[in-house]
Each structure stands twice: as structure tokens, then as C-alpha cells.
């Protein structure tokens, strides 16, 4: 990386995803256009060929995600991106990636739904992302950026985690995160693995032609079908163990939680808007804090539970009520939880959140 890359550049979250991906070692991109994420393929159509990689505009999201399955099975850092109905079309391949232990990275810049919905911001794909999304039992690691800088930084973590666990990783942004233009420092995060180290994680399973492993090497096979009696049960137990191990990857951010009576739980762009509202209300002496999960799967349940004694929680999300279920499960009755939903597609400001926060504070005092 040269010196000029260390300067801050004014770019959109989507472009930050593209820069982050290339700097993290991504060498293949497959995608199909859909708003609000088009800057990702547009930027990568230039960046990847410049860096010795491949860019393919696929004929559909079905094809794009299956191309990703093929490239990632070769142990090459590869990704796709989409939104809304396009992500639905990718669920087949995502399930196969999970079942075959293949490390695809999928970026979802959520738009309003269901159906064709609109192109405004939404967090309506939370369930689809964190509960699996495709057929059969599977889980994706899910990372939720809130800023353009985090779009850049989290791409490093996305590839490292995908290769560490040989599992699909979804980066779950939204129309605001993808479209917001802000200064981004194009410099790998301090703890980032180098691309060679990421690729080395694949040396025991990647497909390359057996000759690549020396004469007489045994052929390799990546598959998800297990028809023999009991074989699939064993496979699912193995996946369960993997999902349990992923719990070590929980990441979150907490702000002003020490003295807080009420903690707002929010992710992505809504967390950012809530933070502005909280800052204003704290200036008026209200004891408010923010808990922002960065990994949505695994959900940082233990960290949230540790905050429970003597506090109350308000879940704010841009959907009709999804993450609130994981918060309720995490707290398991240890604290009261209320919920405020912003309808998908709406563009809101901090003003829109102060009233619901004050209401939740009052409920507490009753």
C-alpha cells in the first residue's frame, strides 16, 4: 500500500466496501446490478482487473452467488453483493456454501421490502441474515457496519472470518450505510490478517487440481449431500460445533452504558442516528447509553446480559420487529425491554428518535 492510500478519501460506503475488499485480498467479484449497492460492482469492475483479479457481471443473482461458490471453493477470496430480492435469489447458493464449508462473502445493502419494496434504507433482512436464510440448518456470520469507514474495515474481518471458519459471511449494511459519503482512511485495520495469511487458512481444503499438492496427492471434494444413513446427522453436528466456536467472534460497541438507566440497542445506520439522539438527551442530563452489536450472528448476548442489572433496554431498528427477539432471548427476563420500529424505506433523523427514547425513559420511572 502506498502513502497516498493512507490519506483520507471522500467516498461512499459502497465504494469503501470495494476498496476494503480489494485491500483485504479479494480477487473475484460476481454480481448483478440492483440499487442501492451499484457502486460496489462499478468500483470493483475497475479495481479488480487492476489488481490481477476477475470481475464478472452475472446474468442473475442466482448465477452470481453460484459463481461465488465456485471461486471460494478454490480458496480464493471472492465476494458478491446485492440487496432486497437479489439477496433472496442468493439463498440457494448460500445454503450450499454453508453445507459444503465454503467461505463466500456476501454484502447486503438492505433496501425496503417485502417484494420489490423500495430503494430506501431498511433492516428488514435481519432474520434472513442471522437465522440462516436459505434451506436447511445453517448460519452465516453477520457483520453490521454503521459508517463508511467501518464498511472498509469490516471487509478485512469478513474475509478473515469466512476463511477461518470456511463459512459464508454476510456484511449487512443498508441504503444509508452504502450511500453515505464520508472520509475514509484507506489503511488496513491494525489487527487485520494479511491476504496471504487469509489464503493460507484454505490450504487443507481448497480445490486446485490434485497436482498442485504434489504427485500422488488424494483428490479433494467439497459437497453438501450426505445420503448414507446417519451421515447427514454427523454433518449437522459438525456444523453445530462450528457455530458454537464462532461465539468467540462476538463484537459490539457500547457508549455511555456505565451510568445509563436506559440502554438503546441498535445496529447499523439506526445505531448511528440513535447515538445523535442520545448525545443530545444526555446533554439534558438523561442517563442514556447505546449498545451496538457489530456481529449480529453471533449475537453478543453475554455482553448484553452483563449490562442487565438495574437497567432497562429499548431496541430501535428499521423493521417491524426482528432484532428485539434476540435481545429478549439474550436477556431472558433479566431486564425490561421495549421496542421502537422505524418503517423500512423511511429516511429519519435524530429528532425522530428522541421522542420514543423519552417515552421509554418515562415508562421506566412509572
Amino acid at each position: 500500500m502506498n502513502a497516498s492510500q493512507k490519506e483520507r478519501v471522500l467516498i461512499k460506503g459502497n465504494e469503501a466496501v470495494a476498496f476494503g475488499a480489494v485491500d483485504a485480498g479479494c480477487r473475484c467479484y460476481f454480481g448483478y446490478p440492483i440499487t442501492p449497492q451499484n457502486e460496489i460492482p462499478e468500483a470493483l469492475s475497475v479495481l479488480l482487473p487492476e489488481n490481477g483479479g476477475a470481475f464478472v457481471q452475472a446474468e442473475s443473482e442466482v448465477a452470481a452467488s453460484n459463481m461465488l461458490l465456485g471461486a471460494a471453493a478454490c480458496g480464493i477470496p471472492a465476494m458478491t453483493s446485492s440487496s432486497g430480492c437479489g439477496i433472496s435469489l442468493m439463498q440457494e447458493a448460500i445454503s450450499y456454501m454453508a453445507g459444503s464449508h465454503v467461505p463466500g462473502v456476501i454484502v447486503n445493502m438492505q433496501r425496503g421490502g417485502p417484494g420489490l419494496g423500495d430503494i430506501g434504507p431498511s433492516q428488514g433482512d435481519y432474520f434472513q441474515a442471522v437465522k440462516g436464510g436459505g434451506h436447511g440448518d445453517h448460519r452465516n456470520l453477520v457483520l453490521a457496519p454503521a459508517t463508511a469507514q467501518e464498511c472498509y474495515d469490516l471487509m478485512f474481518r469478513a474475509f478473515a472470518l469466512a476463511f477461518k471458519y470456511a463459512n459464508p459471511v454476510m456484511v449487512l449494511g443498508d441504503a444509508i450505510v452504502g450511500q453515505i459519503k464520508e472520509p475514509v482512511r484507506r489503511e488496513p485495520p491494525k489487527d487485520a490478517l494479511r491476504p496471504e495469511a487469509v489464503m493460507a487458512l484454505a490450504k487443507d481444503w481448497r480445490l486446485e487440481g490434485y497436482g498442485g499438492r504434489g504427485e500422488g496427492a488424494a483428490p479433494r471434494l467439497l459437497k453438501s449431500v450426505y445420503l448414507a444413513e446417519g451421515a447427514l446427522a454427523g454433518r449437522n453436528r459438525l456444523l453445530m460445533e462450528k457455530y458454537a466456536a464462532m461465539r468467540a467472534e462476538c463484537a459490539f460497541e457500547q457508549t455511555d452504558t456505565n451510568d445509563a438507566e436506559l440502554i438503546v440497542v441498535a445496529f447499523g445506520s439506526i445505531a448511528r442516528i440513535a447515538r445523535s439522539a442520545i448525545r443530545r438527551l444526555r446533554a439534558d442530563g438523561r442517563k442514556l447509553g447505546l449498545f451496538r452489536p457489530v456481529t449480529l450472528y453471533p449475537f453478543p448476548a453475554e455482553a448484553l446480559r452483563a449490562l442487565a442489572p438495574g437497567r432497562r433496554f429499548l431496541v430501535m431498528e428499521q423493521n417491524t420487529g426482528q432484532m428485539v427477539e434476540d435481545v429478549l432471548l439474550a436477556l431472558n427476563g433479566a431486564a425490561a425491554v421495549s421496542w421502537h420500529g422505524v418503517m423500512p424505506g423511511l429516511f429519519i433523523g435524530a429528532d425522530d428518535l428522541t421522542e420514543p427514547i423519552l417515552r421509554a425513559l418515562k415508562e421506566k420511572k412509572q
Binding site: 459463481m67 465456485g70 450450499y96 480445490l207 453438501s224
Partner: protein, 277 residues
């Protein structure tokens, strides 16, 4: 109609051929799960001979499809990957783009490639992906029990067309080799049959060509193989071979529909004479 004398003639070794059965290291010794008389076994043998003779098995990656040949990777000594039903050409695209030095091939049934995966197949071909595709046309969905395939003949009875396929309700059989030949990215498109020694010999030459165009970077290589499914045709293997000759070949003419090594692009789509047996 195959006469016994034809077959006997054809069995005589051709120059460079040896009639003694040799072990091909690209295929392992596991007994296959295919039904007696099924042509998947012959098709596997042809693919393995092409890989062996071209010396590329060590860098080959097989993308398996969903159908009776899902488990094809159990028999080939090469790296392999399972694709969802119909998506093999998309998966192979990803493999080839990620590993430009690999020799990549898909092995797909007619339901897989010409129905659910038609879009992925045509677009991979149109992009000129440097992959080779083996297309098994047996006019039925074998694995799921003999339902109608896009290649089912008009009048053919299947478990979902019990009165026979009708042109007015189900449309006619899809002729994929001819369609492939129309696409700029396709370097080789041929249709062969596995019903007789003569036709198998021609198929072997076509198979090799379909890999050579990939190795030479010319584009997409495609071989359609008219294959028997005695089980779902409710015929014994000999009668199944006869059905290929008498009912299938008239609808699916054999031949090389495109060969970029010999044909100027302007002639694309013109059927050439069948590879001679």
C-alpha cells in the same frame, strides 16, 4: 437399426486402438451406482480417457450437477465440487475465473442443463468461459423417477406426461447443441450418441476436442451425448440402444455444429458432418 454385422465390424481395433481393457488412472475402481445398461458409465469412461490422454487430470476440477450423475465425483480421481441443480456452469465459471490454470468441466443431465439451468448454461457459453460441458440427453429426469425433461420426445410417455408429451401443451424437445452453436463464445458444439461402438468412437473424438478448445483458450466446449436410461424408459438395455438409433437420432441429429478450430465464425451454426466412426 443396428445390425450385428455392423457391430462386429466396428469392434475390430482401429489404428492406435487396443482391445485389451486397460485401467485408466483417472477413474477409480469403485463400482458405479448406475443401473445396468445405463450410459453414464460409458460417458464417464470417455471423459476420463480425454483427461488422461491430454495429461490434464492433475489440474482438473470437476463440477458435478444434480441428477443421476450427482455422484460422478465418487468415480473420478480429480478435485471436485458439487453444484446446486442447474448451476454447474455458473459454479464452473467461478472456479475457472479463480483458477485460470485449472481444467474445468461440468457433467450435467438434460433437466439440469436445459431446464432449471438453461440461463446459467447459455450465459456461461455466451461469455466464452473456458470450460467443457458434458450434456447427458436421456429424454427424462432419471434420478427423480422418469418425469418429463425438456428433451422428452413428442409423444413420449413419462410419469408427468402419461398420455405422451404434446407439442401444444408441453412444447417440443429442446435441441441444445444447435442452440449452443449460435453463441459467439462457444468454440465447439457437437452431438454424439452412445448406442453403438461406431458412435462411441465418434463421441470419444468429440470429447477430446471439447477439452482441447478449453486448453487452447478458444472458448466454451460442449458435447451432447444421446444416452440410454433403460430404467425409466422401461426397456432392456439392447432395446434402449435401439430407441436411441430409431427414435432419438431422427429428432436430435448427430454432428458437429460448431468447431472454432476449423470454422470461420461466419459459418457458426451450420451443422457439419458427424465425426465419422
Amino acid at each position: 437399426m443396428i445390425r450385428v454385422s455392423d457391430s462386429a465390424d466396428a469392434l475390430r481395433p482401429q489404428p492406435g486402438e487396443c482391445l485389451a481393457f486397460d485401467v485408466n488412472p483417472v477413474l477409480n475402481e469403485r463400482p458405479t451406482h448406475y443401473c445396468p445398461g445405463c450410459h453414464h458409465g460409458i460417458a464417464h469412461r470417455l471423459v476420463s480417457e480425454a483427461l488422461h490422454e491430454l495429461g490434464v487430470a492433475r489440474r482438473a476440477i470437476l463440477v458435478a450437477s444434480v441428477g443421476c450423475a450427482t455422484f460422478t465425483y465418487d468415480y473420478f480421481n480429480v478435485d471436485g465440487l458439487e453444484a446446486p441443480h442447474g448451476r454447474a456452469c455458473a459454479v464452473a465459471t467461478g472456479v475457472r475465473r479463480a483458477r485460470p490454470d485449472a481444467v474445468v468441466f461440468t457433467y450435467q443431465g438434460d433437466g439440469d442443463m436445459a431446464a432449471i439451468g438453461l440461463a446459467e448454461s447459455l450465459h456461461a457459453a455466451n461469455r466464452g468461459e473456458k470450460i467443457t460441458t458434458i450434456f447427458i440427453n436421456n429424454t427424462v429426469y432419471g434420478m427423480t423417477g422418469g418425469q418429463m425433461a425438456p428433451t422428452t420426445l413428442v409423444g413420449q410417455k413419462t410419469t408427468t406426461t402419461c398420455q405422451g408429451r404434446s407439442l401444444s401443451n408441453e412444447g417440443g424437445p429442446v435441441r441444445l447443441a444447435e442452440i449452443m452453436a449460435q453463441l459467439d463464445g462457444v468454440a465447439y458444439a457437437a452431438r454424439c450418441a452412445l448406442d453403438s461402438v461406431k458412435h462411441v468412437r465418434a463421441a470419444k473424438r468429440a470429447m477430446r476436442k471439447a477439452f482441447e478448445v478449453q486448453l487452447d483458450g478458444l472458448g466454451f466446449g460442449f458435447v451432447e451425448l444421446l444416452s440410454g436410461c433403460p430404467t425409466n424408459w422401461h426397456l432392456d438395455p439392447v432395446a434402449a440402444n435401439r430407441r436411441i438409433a430409431e427414435a432419438m437420432i431422427p429428432v436430435f441429429p448427430l454432428g458437429v455444429f460448431k468447431d472454432a478450430t476449423t470454422t470461420a465464425p461466419a459459418d457458426a451454426g451450420q451443422a457439419k458432418e458427424a465425426p465419422r466412426g
